[in-house]
C-alpha cells in the first residue's frame, strides 16, 4: 500500500470512529430501574397479517391500562417462529431474557423453558386474574407441570377440523353428513370409497408436516381422547406397543391410501386445502387457521362462501373432542421488569385482551367467557365446543410431546409414508421414540 493510500484509509477510519463514538455517547441505554418499571419488552413472532393486528390491539389495551409503562414490541419475523426461537435461545443463553415471550402452551414450554429453569410458575396470576375458573378444566393439566401452570394461553386453535367441499360430495352421490355421520373412521372411509369411485381425491394432504397433523387426528379418532392422553403421561398409561396404537396405525395407513400421491411435493398446507375448494378433493384435515384462508378477502384468503364453497365438521371419530394448540406467554426468571411483565400477563389473560386479539388472529379465546358476537361463524362454533368438549393436546403443534420426541415421531411418520405396508416397523419406531425421550422405561 502506498503511503498516500494508507493515509487516506487511516483518515477514513478516524472519521468513522469519531462519528461512531459520538453516536454511541449520544444514545446511552436507559439505566434499568429497580422500582417503578418504565418498560416491558415482549417477544413474539406475530408479524404476519391478522396476528400483528391482534397484537397491536392487545398493546393498545395494555397502554390504556398501564400508561406509565412503555411497551417494547420485540417481534421477530420469519419461518413461523423458527427464527424467533433461535433469537430467543441466544438471548436466554446470554442471560438477557425479554420480560415475556411467546411459546406454544404445553410440552414445548415445559420441556424447553420449565425444564431449563428459565420461567416461573404462574399460580398466583391464575388465581388473581380468575383465569383458573374460566379455562376448561381439561386444559389445565396440559399446560402445567406438577400442578403448576407455567404460561398464560392467549388464543386457542383447533387441530381436529375436517374441511370439505359439499359440491364434490353431492356430485359423488354422498348422502352422509360429515357433521353428524362420521362417528367412526370406518364411516368416513366408506364415504371415501364413494368419492374415489367418482374420480376425485378423497383426502387431500400437503407438505410432510401435515401428515403428522393427520396422524394425530386419525389416532385420536381411533383410540379416543382418554387413551390419547394416556400416550403422553409419564409413564404412559396407553401402551405404545399395544393393540390401540396398532389399530390407529392401520387407520392412518388406510387414510394415507386416499390421499393425493404428490402430497410431499406440495409446498405447505394451503395447496392441500385449496384442492378442496377447487373441487379436486373432497376432504382435508387441517387446523382452523384454514378458515381464514378460505373465507378472508384476497390477497390473504380465497374469499369463499361458507357452507356452499366449503364447509367444516369435527374430524372423523373425534366428535366431542377438542384437539387444541395455543400461543401463550411466560414469566421469565431474571426478567428486567418483573412487575411490568406481570402487568402484561394480566392483560394477556384478561377478557378485554383476548377479545381484542383473537377475532383479528382468527383464533378463539382461551377463556370461555368471551363475547361471541365479536367472532366469525366458525369461531363461534369452535368456542361452543371449547366450553363443552374434552380438551386434548396436539402433537404436531407442541402441546403433548417435547420437541425432540415430536421430531422423532415426525421422522417415523415420514419413513412410514415412503412405504405404508411397514406398519410393524412404524410401531417399533414409535416405541423407540418414546423410550429415547425417557418417558417410556
Amino acid at each position: 500500500m502506498s503511503n498516500k493510500k494508507m493515509y487516506g484509509f487511516v483518515a477514513f477510519l478516524v472519521i468513522a470512529a469519531t462519528i461512531l463514538s459520538a453516536c454511541g455517547t449520544a444514545t446511552p441505554t436507559p439505566a434499568p430501574t429497580a422500582a417503578g418499571s418504565t418498560e416491558v419488552e415482549v417477544f413474539s413472532w406475530w408479524v404476519g397479517p391478522g396476528e400483528a393486528d391482534g397484537l397491536a390491539a392487545m398493546i393498545k389495551i395494555f397502554n390504556a391500562d398501564y400508561p406509565s409503562i412503555a411497551f417494547v414490541n420485540a417481534a421477530v419475523a420469519g419461518g413461523a417462529g423458527t427464527n424467533a426461537k433461535a433469537v430467543l435461545a441466544t438471548r436466554l443463553a446470554a442471560g438477557d431474557p425479554p420480560d415475556s415471550w411467546q411459546a406454544h402452551a404445553g410440552q414445548e414450554t415445559i420441556a424447553n423453558y420449565v425444564a431449563a429453569g428459565q420461567v416461573l410458575p404462574l399460580d398466583d396470576l391464575f388465581a388473581s386474574t380468575g383465569l383458573t375458573s374460566v379455562l376448561p378444566a381439561t386444559l389445565l393439566p396440559l399446560i402445567s407441570q406438577d400442578g403448576h401452570p407455567y404460561s398464560v394461553p392467549v388464543n386457542i386453535h383447533r387441530s381436529n377440523v375436517l374441511w370439505y367441499n359439499p359440491k364434490v360430495l353431492a356430485a359423488a352421490g354422498v348422502t352422509a353428513n360429515p357433521k353428524t355421520d362420521f362417528a367412526t373412521l370406518d364411516a368416513f372411509f366408506a364415504v371415501c370409497d364413494q368419492v374415489k369411485a367418482a374420480g376425485k381425491i378423497c383426502l387431500s394432504l400437503g407438505a410432510p408436516w401435515t401428515a403428522i397433523h393427520l396422524f394425530e387426528n386419525i389416532m385420536i379418532g381411533t383410540i379416543g381422547a382418554a387413551k390419547w392422553n394416556g400416550l403422553w403421561t409419564s409413564p404412559p398409561t396407553t401402551d405404545w406397543a399395544g393393540a390401540d396404537v396398532t389399530a390407529g396405525i392401520a387407520n392412518f395407513a388406510k387414510a394415507l391410501s386416499y390421499t393425493n400421491p404428490d402430497a410431499s411435493t406440495l409446498s405447505d398446507w394451503q395447496t392441500a386445502s385449496k384442492m378442496v375448494s377447487d373441487g379436486d378433493a373432497a376432504f382435508n384435515i387441517m387446523g382452523d387457521w384454514a378458515y381464514g384462508y378460505f373465507a378472508n378477502a384476497a390477497p390473504n384468503g380465497l374469499a369463499l362462501t361458507p357452507h356452499t364453497d366449503f364447509d367444516w365438521a369435527v374430524a372423523p371419530g373425534t366428535y366431542g373432542v377438542f384437539n387444541f394448540l395455543s400461543d401463550s406467554f411466560v414469566l421469565p426468571v431474571g426478567a428486567k421488569h418483573p412487575d411490568a411483565a406481570i402487568d402484561w400477563l394480566t392483560v394477556a389473560a384478561s377478557k378485554a385482551g383476548q377479545e381484542a386479539f383473537n377475532p383479528l388472529k382468527g383464533s378463539i379465546c382461551a377463556r370461555t367467557d368471551c363475547n361471541q358476537a365479536l367472532f366469525s361463524e366458525y369461531s363461534q362454533d369452535a368456542a361452543k365446543d371449547w366450553t363443552s368438549n374434552v380438551v386434548v393436546g396436539s402433537l404436531m403443534h407442541g402441546v403433548v410431546a417435547a420437541p425432540a420426541w415430536a421430531t422423532s415421531i415426525g421422522t417415523a411418520i415420514g419413513l412410514f409414508q415412503t412405504d405404508t405396508t411397514q406398519t410393524g416397523s412404524f410401531q417399533v419406531a414409535l416405541v423407540a421414540a418414546c423410550a429415547a425421550d425417557g418417558t417410556c422405561k
Binding site: 494508507m6 493515509y7 484509509f9 487511516v10 477510519l13 478516524v14 468513522a16 470512529a17 469519531t18 461512531l20 463514538s21 453516536c23 454511541g24 455517547t25 444514545t27 446511552p28 441505554t29 423458527t82 426461537k85 433461535a86 435461545a89 436466554l92 443463553a93 420441556a111 424447553n112 423453558y113 425444564a115 431449563a116 429453569g117 428459565q118 407438505a207 410432510p208 408436516w209 393425493n260 400421491p261 404428490d262 410431499s264 411435493t265 406440495l266 409446498s267 405447505d268 384442492m275 377447487d278 379436486d280 417435547a402 420437541p403 425432540a404 415430536a406 421430531t407 422423532s408 415426525g410 421422522t411 415420514g414 419413513l415 409414508q417 415412503t418 416397523s425 419406531a429
Partner: protein
C-alpha cells in the same frame, strides 16, 4: 529485528490518535449501546473501533520497515477471525457431538461416540440420507461433467456468437439453489388430471403422454434421481467454463502438429485434448462433489423435508432446530464435514506438493 527504525512524527501522531480514539470508543461502547434506526449495532461498532485501534498499532509497526513483521501484523486479524469462526467452531461442533445435549440448555455430559452410534446403528433415516447423497452426488457429477464437456467442445469450434452462448450457459449458476429449487418444483409438478401443470402439461399437449412423470415424487429410491436435474441445469455451465479455460490453455501448436500427422478432429480430442484436460476434470469433481455432499437448499425447496428426499443437511436441521437435539445434530454435521474432508484434503495436499515442486 529492530535494526531499522525511522521515526516519522506525523505517522506517530496519527498512530497515537488512532490508538486513543479506538480505545476510548471501545470503552464507551462497552458501557452504552449504539442504536441507529432501531437497530442495535453496538457489537459491530465495537469491532470497528477495535480495528481503528489495531490500525494505530500497525502504523507504529510500519515504522520499523520490517516487511515480515508488517505482513504478519496485517494478516493477524483475519487469521484470528478464521481460527475462531471456522476452526474454533468446528472444534466446538465436535465437542458438542460427544455430549448428551438435548433441549435448550447446554448439557456437556460426556456421551462418547453414542450420537454417532445412534446414527449408524439401525437408523433407517440415516440410511436413506446416505443413499440419497450417494445417488445425488454420482448423478450430479456425471451430468455436469458430460454436459459441461459437451458444451465446451461445441463452443470450442470457434463459432459465431460464442460469447453469447457462453453467457447463456453460465447464467443459471447465478441463481441461488433455493430459487431454482422452487421454480423446478413448479416445472416438475407431478399432479395429474385437471391439476396437471409444468413439464407434464407440455408433454400432454405435445401428445408425449409416455413422458409424463411423477418426477421427484416417484416412489423411493428413484425420486431422488430427479432432483439431479435442476442441479445439473444449474452447474453444467460452470463445468463448461472450467473445461473451456482448460482447452484455451492447450497450445494450438499441439493441435497443428496432430493435424500435420494426419489426426482427425475426433482423434485430436481423443488423444490430445481430453488427456490434457484431466486436471480440470479433477478440479471440477472436487468442486461439484463438495457442493453435493453439503446440498440442502435445493432439496428443501423441492422436497419440503419429505423423508424420501432426505439428505444429511436436512436431517441435521430438523434434529438440531426443530428437535432441539443439539448433540445429535452436531454429530450429523461432523459426519458431513468428514465426508467433504476425505475428498478435499488429499486434493489440497497434492496441490501443495506440486506447488512446492514448482
Amino acid at each position: 529485528m529492530f535494526r531499522k527504525f525511522t521515526l516519522r512524527v506525523p505517522v506517530l501522531c496519527l498512530a497515537l490518535v488512532l490508538i486513543i480514539v479506538g480505545a476510548v470508543c471501545v470503552v464507551v461502547l462497552e458501557k452504552t449501546q449504539l442504536i441507529i434506526a432501531g437497530k442495535n449495532i453496538t457489537s459491530i461498532a465495537i469491532l470497528l473501533c477495535g480495528l481503528v485501534f489495531y490500525a494505530g498499532i500497525v502504523l507504529i509497526i510500519s515504522m520499523f520497515e520490517n516487511e515480515t513483521m508488517l505482513s504478519i501484523a496485517l494478516l493477524l486479524p483475519s487469521m484470528v477471525a478464521v481460527a475462531i469462526f471456522v476452526y474454533g467452531f468446528i472444534g466446538w461442533s465436535i465437542r458438542v457431538s460427544l455430549t448428551q445435549w438435548k433441549g435448550l440448555n447446554p448439557n456437556y455430559a460426556w456421551a462418547g461416540l453414542k450420537q454417532y452410534y445412534l446414527l449408524f446403528n439401525n437408523n433407517p433415516r440415516f440410511v436413506i440420507d446416505v443413499r440419497n447423497t450417494g445417488m445425488f452426488t454420482v448423478g450430479f457429477i456425471l451430468g455436469c461433467l458430460i454436459i459441461g464437456l459437451g458444451l465446451a467442445i461445441l463452443l470450442d469450434q470457434k463459432l459465431k456468437g460464442e460469447a453469447l452462448f457462453r453467457g447463456i450457459f453460465l447464467f443459471p449458476m447465478s441463481i441461488s439453489f433455493i430459487a431454482s429449487g422452487v421454480v423446478w418444483g413448479w416445472l416438475m409438478n407431478p399432479a395429474t388430471g385437471n391439476r396437471i401443470t409444468g413439464l407434464n402439461l407440455i408433454f400432454q399437449k405435445l401428445g408425449l403422454d409416455s413422458l409424463i412423470s411423477l418426477w421427484h415424487s416417484t416412489p423411493q429410491p428413484w425420486g431422488m434421481a430427479f432432483t439431479v436435474l435442476p442441479a445439473v441445469w444449474q452447474l453444467s455451465g460452470f463445468t463448461m467454463a472450467l473445461y473451456m479455460g482448460g482447452m484455451r490453455s492447450i497450445s494450438d501448436d499441439l493441435r497443428e502438429a496432430a493435424r500435420v500427422d494426419g489426426a482427425s478432429e475426433f482423434q485430436i480430442y481423443q488423444y490430445i485434448i481430453l488427456p490434457l484436460l484431466q486436471p480440470v476434470t479433477l478440479s471440477a469433481v472436487i468442486i461439484l462433489a463438495h457442493m453435493s455432499l453439503k446440498i440442502f437448499d435445493l432439496i428443501v425447496a423441492l422436497g419440503n423435508k419429505a423423508i424420501s428426499l432426505d439428505v444429511p443437511g436436512i436431517y441435521m436441521w430438523t434434529t438440531t432446530f426443530d428437535g432441539t437435539n443439539y448433540a445429535q445434530g452436531a454429530a450429523i454435521g461432523v459426519l458431513m464435514l468428514i465426508s467433504v474432508a476425505v475428498l478435499v484434503i488429499p486434493y489440497l495436499i497434492n496441490n501443495m506438493r506440486t506447488e512446492t515442486q514448482l
